[in-house]
Structures are given as C-alpha cells and as structure tokens.
Symmetry: C2
Subunit: 360 residues, 2 copies
C-alpha cells in the first residue's frame, strides 16, 4: 500500500492529542502533506501556539481516521483508552518512547477496540521542547519504530505505516518488548551517560570550563533535555536500562581498578571505537556505502595536495576517505580519494579538466 508522501492527502481527518515538540511536528508534517489535521492539548497555550504555527485547527473533527497520542509516557495508556472510546472508527497510535508498559496497561484494563491501537515511536527529538521547537521535517530520514501486538488489525498497521511515511521517516517494525530493549541501549543509556557527564561539571572552578571544546558539548547536548519528561521515560523503561547501567558500572570499575595498567585503558578504548562502528545512519552509511577510489598523480611538491583538495572541493564531490601513497622511487605521489561510487567518474573528469592525471 506504499504511497509517496505528497502524492495524496492522508485518508481522513487526523486528531493530534498533545501539542509539544513531537505532536506539533507530526501535525505540521501531516498538514504539509495535505491532511486535515485537528489539534488538542490539555494546555491551551500549547494548542493555540501549534494552531498559529499552521499545524492544524483546534476545531473538533466530525470523525477521525487516525488519532495520534503525543503525551508524556505517564499519560499514554489513559489517553489512548479515551481516544479508542471517543473515536470508535479511528485507528489510534502513540509516539511515546516506551512501548510495552502502555500496551500492558491497556490489555490489563480489558480495553475495548485494542485491535485499533498500534504503538509507534519516531526516533527524533530535540533538547528543546514545546510547540515552538517543532518542525515539519523533524522526522525526515529518521527511523520511526512501529510495534505491532498480537491483536492489531491490518488497517491499523497500514494507517500507522502511512503516517510514518507521510512524515518522511523510515519504518522499523519490531515487537514492543524488543523496542524497549533497543531504545534502552540506543537512546536511554546515552541520555543517562550524557547527564552523568554534565553533572560532573559542578564542583570545579568555573574558569576551568573556559577550556570546554566541541567534544564536551556533543557529549552533554542531550543532557539539557526536559527532566520531567525523561524521568517518566527512564522510569518506564528502568528494567532494560538497569541491565545496561550495570554493564557500564562494570566497565567503569575495570577502568578504575586498572588505570595504572595501560593495557586495561586500551582495552576499554578499543571497545568504544568498535562500538561506534556498529552505528548505522549517516556516518555508518558513508563508511559502508559503495565507495570507489579515484587515483590522482600528485607532484611531490609543497602545496600540491592543497591545490588538489581545492580542486576536489570545487568539483562538489564529497571526499569519503583519503590515502596518500608516496612512491619513494618517483618524484610523484598518488592520492587515493574514496568517493561514493556514483560520483567517481564525475570527480575524475573534473580533476582531469583541471590538469590532473586522474584515473579510476
């Protein structure tokens, strides 16, 4: 049933409940795609701000084809149950960060119409919060987890997939329990580690922080996120999270006990490097995408490589990797420039035009 996002408006009215960062961004993306989007929020300021941003209308819809519940984790089960009752023909999804607890709560309460509920989770956020931080492209190219349960209907699957695609996201489907284990590792653990790093910035002379560089800023960026929201997320997913944190403490103890031995430090550092190489997405893609090497003869003279870089930059082709092979027998070096294979010929031609001896 796949359909290109902008090809047709979303089938029927959509009600977005919760006009924070994620809810308002979902509403903006759906509105951009031509959907009939209605907004609701317990906080009238948020709802009106979202409407003023063009995310949709505060008018109550006649009926709803889809209800998107974008409220904090503590309220998801309750709001989903209400939505299933209020809109008997609607598919209901939520976009919260933890998927098993609300499903269990709904099932335990014997909720009617559970086949119309399908939890999902767009892997996008910001250290900023609220509707004014929202954007209609927040989800573009991001993963959007869809977590089917045993009783879910085909229509629910179809409509929530359509939602994620309309927002420009990439679908990732897995059971709710697996999702929670996965986000504990890729989202909740990094959040805690970022927080623990930022927390250590207290207690030192503040002028020491004048030495802060980009590394510290990157590691601590998400530590600035809304604590009230994250308290709910970490609490809801504490079981898989605690297991990972125990592993971190073991690594930390290993490092503390062995820091006098360089080998111990190097072992821990090595596990970190190999860990980063497991991450897919932009960097991973670049590392694993089909690359081709363009070989360029570079006169072994001062500045020649700088000139090659400038000419390569002007060609508009992005350098993925670079090696310099100095053939010690000859007065010329060979630069091996790795680029995405589909751009290789273009680069070779551009460099040849500029007088370089370049070949594939």
């Amino acid at each position: 049933m796949s359909s290109a996002p902008q090809s047709r408006p979303f089938p029927g009215p959509v009600l977005v409940v919760g006009c924070g960062l994620v809810g308002t961004s979902v509403a903006l993306a759906l509105t951009r795609a031509g959907a009939d989007v209605h907004l609701r929020d317990a906080n009238p300021e948020h709802a009106r701000t979202a409407e003023m941003l063009g995310a949709g209308t505060l008018a109550k819809p006649e009926a709803a084809a889809l209800v998107v519940v974008a409220v904090p984790p503590d309220y998801v089960a309750e709001v989903v149950a209400d939505a299933l009752g209020e809109w008997p023909d609607a598919i209901v999804t939520d976009v919260a960060s933890v998927k098993l607890p609300p499903l269990q709560a709904l099932a335990a309460a014997g909720t009617e119409g559970l086949e119309r509920y399908l939890g999902s989770h767009p892997m996008a956020g910001s250290e900023r919060s609220g509707p004014t931080a929202a954007s209609d492209n927040l989800f573009e190219g991001r993963a959007w987890a869809i977590t089917p349960h045993a009783a879910v209907s085909e229509l629910a699957l179809e409509r929530v997939r359509d939602l994620a695609r309309t927002a420009g996201a990439t679908l990732v489907e897995m059971p709710p329990d697996e999702h929670d284990v996965a986000v504990a590792r890729v989202s909740h653990l990094p959040q805690v580690m970022s927080v623990l790093t930022a927390a250590r910035l207290h207690g030192g002379p503040t002028d020491h922080l004048a030495l802060a560089g980009q590394g510290l800023r990157d590691v601590t960026r998400i530590a600035g996120s809304d604590p009230a929201l994250w308290r709910q997320i970490l609490y809801a997913n504490r079981l898989p999270l605690v297991e990972l944190l125990r592993g971190v403490r073991d690594d930390l103890d290993e490092l503390l006990d062995g820091i006098e031995r360089r080998q111990v430090i190097e072992d821990v550092l090595g596990r970190g490097v190999s860990g980063t190489q497991l991450i897919p997405g932009k960097h991973g893609e670049e590392r694993t995408a089909a690359l081709a090497t363009v070989f360029v003869q570079v006169p072994d003279q001062p500045g020649e490589l700088g000139r090659l870089f400038r000419d390569t930059g002007q060609s508009g082709v992005n350098i993925e990797d670079l090696r310099i092979d100095h053939d010690l027998g000859r007065p010329v070096g060979v630069a091996e420039i790795a680029v995405r294979s589909e751009r290789a010929v273009e680069l070779a031609d551009a460099l040849t035009e500029r007088g370089w001896t370049a070949y594939l």
Copy 2:
C-alpha cells in the same frame, strides 16, 4: 604586544615537530599567516604529506625562533629536551593534552634552558587523525591554554601567546597543574563517558541499532578517536581523572539503587541540566550574550506564527529565544522574540516593512 594575526609574518622561522592532525594544522595556520614554517616527523610519510598540503617545508631551518612540539604525550618531555638543546635561541612549546607530567620530567632531569620552554594546549581536535585531517582553521575561536611555570621567560610567554593568536585561538592562561585538573573534567571525562556508552553497543541485536538517533551519534562521536593516543592521555592524567570517575560511579550507584524512586531519577537529571548550563562557548555565549526582545503582535489565526517565522528568517536575524503570550482578552497574541541586542532594531524594521506590528 598584541598584534592582529595576519598583520605581519611570525617573527622568525618556526619548526613544527610532529605532523599529525594538530601539528599540521598549526603549521598550516602559521603558513597562512606568512610565517616561515619548517616540518619534521619521525614518520616520513606524515612529513611529506604535510609538506604537500602546503604546511611548510621539510628543509631544516638555519635557526628557529619557535619550536612547536606536537608529538604524543609519551614523547613530549624527550622531544622538548632535545629541541631546547638543538635550538639554543628558540622558544619551545608543546601542544599536548597534559601539561604537568612533562614539565616535572624536564625539571627532574635538570634540563638546561627550561626558561625557554612554555607548555600550551589548543582545545581543538577531531575523531579523525593524521595530516590529511588537518585544517588551517582548526583553532579559530577555540581556547588555547598556555600554562606558565615559575622559571618561564617573558619572551617565551610573548611568543607562545603570539602563536595562539596567529592560529586564531582565544588565550586561556593557568598553571600546569590546574590545566590538568580542568581538562580531566572538560575533555578526558567526556572521552571516557563517550567510550563507555559506545562500548555498550556491543551485545545487542544489530538490528536494534536501526533505532539509533542523533543523540547516540553525538554522545559517541569522540569515542571513535585514536585509542593509542588516548591511552597515553588518560594514563598521563589518571590522578585527577580517577577522582572524577569515582564521582560518576557514585552518581551511577545512586541512580541504580534509587531508580524505583522517581525523585532520585529527577535529582540526577536535574544535576545534568544545570551542568550543561555551566558550559560557555557558542551555546553558552548565545544564552548569556546581551539579548533584546522584539515584541510582535500576531493575529491569533492558524499559520500566522509560521508566517512570522518565515519573515524573521528572511530578515537574516537569528532567533535566540521565543515566547508566545496569548492575551486571552484579545484576538491577538504577542510573540516575544529574543535576538542579539545589536540586531534587534534591524529585525523590528524588517518585520514592520513586512506589515507586522513590531516594537522593542
């Protein structure tokens, strides 16, 4: 003795020993400023690549006004001692990440000419390494620590300050021991935390990593850095680092023991948020720079705020902060747009031109 970077070439020949990322970047910045830069590296490939990049010449200088030692921490003391002996008229600095141990080693060895040595440390790097990752603007706007010792000469201070300014960096002067405590907190601790986070990516199903978002990438970016180099840094600075890591372990234990209690989670998260607010630099500056508020009347209608954002964007003035004040008594809201004060009038005028009622 301050002088604008490009106003005159650096006084006399500079020898850069070590053509890795930092050494080659220093050489490129000095060359750009018109200095006479000479290069040396134990690895001839690195030296020749740096020369081909236009960082300087491999020819040995007649004399040197400044020697910049850019070798791994383990070799700093030895290479600095050799440089002081080989270039009796030169000021010698190093750019390594840890400052007290090499100074102690040089003093303990009764090194001649210690008054001509002044350690320094540019707070810039990359998860990439080697000369091909170098850039002549690596240090622009970054802090460059200068760590005077009791016996240092005025000329040494003047020349190393000149080096940092020529590279476009901001000078931060503090004693070597204080520097090491400071970087343990702002650089070495984040490195370890990033590594511990990335190390936990092992052991889960790899398809779980499809849910990885920007947060994980930011937290783990520096974990991809050269382990051989970082082993030396962490080992050299292990004393202050261990203290901080013990504090992290205490916080971690607090979280593990108390994760069943929401208050404990919120306390830890709160310390993280307030910690991030201690960080100066780009974000900190924006937060603390003199801001002015432009008030704009916004018709309380769908899309109006979106239109205001577009018009603001076209004005080229950056929004630092935003509040929407819905005056419930009137059919108009007021957007309070915080911008750098020197741009406020410009924004108000631009919005007025576009038909908005805007005022300061």
